[in-house]
């Protein structure tokens, strides 16, 4: 045996070598690996023994190959529609870049994809007009990540949700004061494509075409442990956003109206009752609260 290295030095070296995107040889020769154990590829046997059938580098490569293959496979399971849209080879290339830039720092694979959409945003070509192909991919990754978080995050199943009669019990003169308490799984998302339909089509093996861009305002939640999604109008979306931000209904309408084109006020008045019914039947809120009640 050669002079024994510290355990920490050996572990840092192994990690550098087997996670190098260009393979074991590049990993051994990298500056970061050589800072731990200063050897070249010809000296790997000083650290890793050979077997009767495989050399030291080949044995290390079992770990190197598995590292990216396993994590790309997991990322592909979390982002099946993004993978389908990109094709296997291109998806793997993006995944490799992502994991090289943002390696997992969590004990759980559930967090593996949490920065993937941001990676696509950060690497989006700046000279391509919006919205186009890269934005479609970004929207896809965002919605698939949201699905993953909603699926296994806190949900409404054991909490009970708002009923239409709960709203009817509010004195009419105090309706503007009510605050809607959203279910913990409720998410809003703006997209430039109907990515929710694309994801569903991929999950059902329907081989969808890339859709044309169109403003898509998504409400995503969970009911009976399955992720549910739907679209709403711009006015309803703005109102939901203001409510989720914690505004009372009256304040929320004002905030939402400010975000809408002039003359949209009538849209709120005309649709409020219908929206309330929908929110209650869709299970988007736990309850309404009145100050002082």
């Amino acid at each position: 045996m050669s002079e024994q290295r510290s355990l920490g030095k050996l572990q840092r070296w192994v990690q550098e070598v087997i996670t190098h995107p260009d393979g074991i040889a590049a990993g051994v020769n990298s500056q970061t690996a050589r800072q731990q154990i200063d050897i070249g590829t010809a000296q790997i046997e000083q650290v890793v023994e050979r077997s009767t059938r495989l050399g030291s580098a080949e044995r290390l490569a079992v770990y190197g190959n598995a590292y990216f293959a396993r994590l790309i496979e997991c990322l592909g399971e979390e982002f099946p529609a993004t993978r389908y849209a990109l094709g296997e080879e291109t998806f793997e290339s993006f995944a490799l870049g992502y994991m090289t830039q943002s390696p997992s720092a969590s004990y759980s694979l559930g967090f593996l994809g949490e920065r993937f959409a941001q990676y696509l945003i950060d690497t989006r070509p700046s000279d391509v007009p919006k919205p186009s192909w890269p934005d479609f991919l970004i929207d896809l990754a965002k919605v698939e990540r949201t699905y993953a978080e909603v699926f296994d995050g806190p949900g409404p199943e054991n909490l009970g949700t708002l009923k239409p009669e709960d709203l009817q019990a509010v004195p009419p003169e105090r309706v503007s004061e009510i605050r809607f308490v959203p279910v913990p799984s409720l998410r809003l998302m703006e997209a430039s494509f109907r990515v929710h339909e694309y994801v569903t089509a991929v999950r059902r093996d329907r081989s969808p075409e890339i859709p044309m861009p169109v403003e898509t305002l998504l409400v995503i939640t969970r009911r009976e442990y399955v992720v549910r999604r739907g679209t709403v109008s711009r006015a309803e979306f703005q109102l939901l956003r203001a409510i989720i931000d914690g505004h009372s209904l009256g304040q929320a309408i004002e905030v939402a109206a400010e975000a809408m084109p002039a003359g949209s006020d009538d849209e709120f008045a005309a649709n409020l009752s219908k929206w309330f019914q929908h929110w209650a039947s869709a299970g988007w809120f736990l309850r309404v609260e009145l100050p002082g009640s």
């Binding site: 355990l7 572990q11 990690q15 890793v48 694979l109 296994d152 442990y225 999604r229």
Partner: protein
């Protein structure tokens, strides 16, 4: 003298709980002795995995098996992780908590693989000290599994079985003997798997793992995607004889077949013990790497979302 299995019960013949089998288990309530869960898949779950587990623990005994404790890492122990592990064990009334004699990353990273350690005095003292800390924190013994390994280090000064024996005795932990891993690692390192199994402290073995693997010719990869091979059954029979029998668990993590196939595979272990020395389980005619998409070790299991 150490009490057999550290006084922990022999649960019988269990199966690793996987999401693809949720509907079958909930609907049919199969006659399985116990389930092993991947701890990390439930520690943070607020959704369907947790909901299913609630129903499982009402009807079955459960053991927790982790893949991210990283007991051999030189990074500090993650006490937030350990707190979640303890909370999950309390909630599920887990019969015990297991993980692996390995490390999964340093510098705050996790490669989600079970990486090998050099077997020497420095590593031994490091691992023993951490096991003691973890056991104190969890307020229960830790049960540690021999991982599959694909390399050995020149820094090693003792065999894996000597390391594991001293580790268990000095830290007073239990052992999970993965019989398939013994076979795979010994093939990869030109060692005799029977020597490995005979040299362990058998009274400390709390549980067995069985699984399938992929033979690549020059090496074997622990893919958990197939039936148990005959040579592993032979080693299992030896391990059973030496231990007097302990809880036995079948892992199947890739290309997972119907639940009855997986359950049937672990019941072959029961038949093997019952039928004595002569009979080996009949193998189903499914095989070869040719029908497999990727030859990748499968230490962790990803849970995919269900969307309408």
């Amino acid at each position: 003298m150490t009490e057999a299995r550290l006084g922990l019960p022999d649960l019988g013949f269990g199966v690793g709980l996987r999401t693809t089998h949720y509907p079958h288990i909930l609907k049919n309530k199969p006659d399985v002795d116990w389930f092993e869960i991947i701890s990390e898949n439930y520690m943070d779950s607020g959704g369907r995995p947790r909901h299913v587990l609630e129903q499982i623990v009402e009807q079955y005994k459960v053991v927790m098996h982790g893949v991210s404790l990283s007991i051999g890492s030189t990074d500090p122990l993650d006490f937030d992780y350990l707190a979640k592990l303890r909370a999950l064990a309390d909630w599920t009334k887990a019969a015990w908590i297991s993980d692996h004699v390995c490390w999964t990353g340093v510098n705050g990273l996790n490669g989600h693989d079970l990486l090998p350690l050099p077997y020497n005095e420095e590593t031994l003292q490091h691992v023993v000290s951490r096991i003691k800390t973890v056991q104190d924190f969890l307020e229960r013994p830790l049960v540690l599994e021999n991982p599959t390994t694909y390399v050995t280090f020149t820094d090693s000064t003792m065999s894996e079985w000597d390391f594991v024996t001293r580790m268990a005795e000095e830290s007073d932990c239990g052992l999970l003997l993965d019989v398939n891993n013994v076979y795979v690692s010994c093939f990869n390192h030109d060692l005799d798997p029977e020597d490995f199994i005979r040299s362990l402290p058998h009274e400390r073995i709390v549980q067995f793992h069985l699984a399938g693997h992929t033979d690549c010719g020059t090496h074997i990869i622990d893919t958990h995607d197939n039936f148990v091979v005959d040579k592993v059954w032979e080693l299992y029979r030896l391990a059973h004889k030496l231990t007097g029998g302990v809880s036995t668990l079948l892992e199947w993590d890739a290309q997972i077949p119907d639940f009855d196939v997986v359950h049937g595979e672990v019941l072959k272990a029961r038949d093997l013990i019952r039928d004595g020395d002569t009979a080996l389980p009949k193998r189903a005619a499914r095989d070869t790497a040719a029908d497999r998409s990727a030859t990748v070790p499968q230490p962790a299991v990803f849970v995919a979302a269900e969307v309408e």
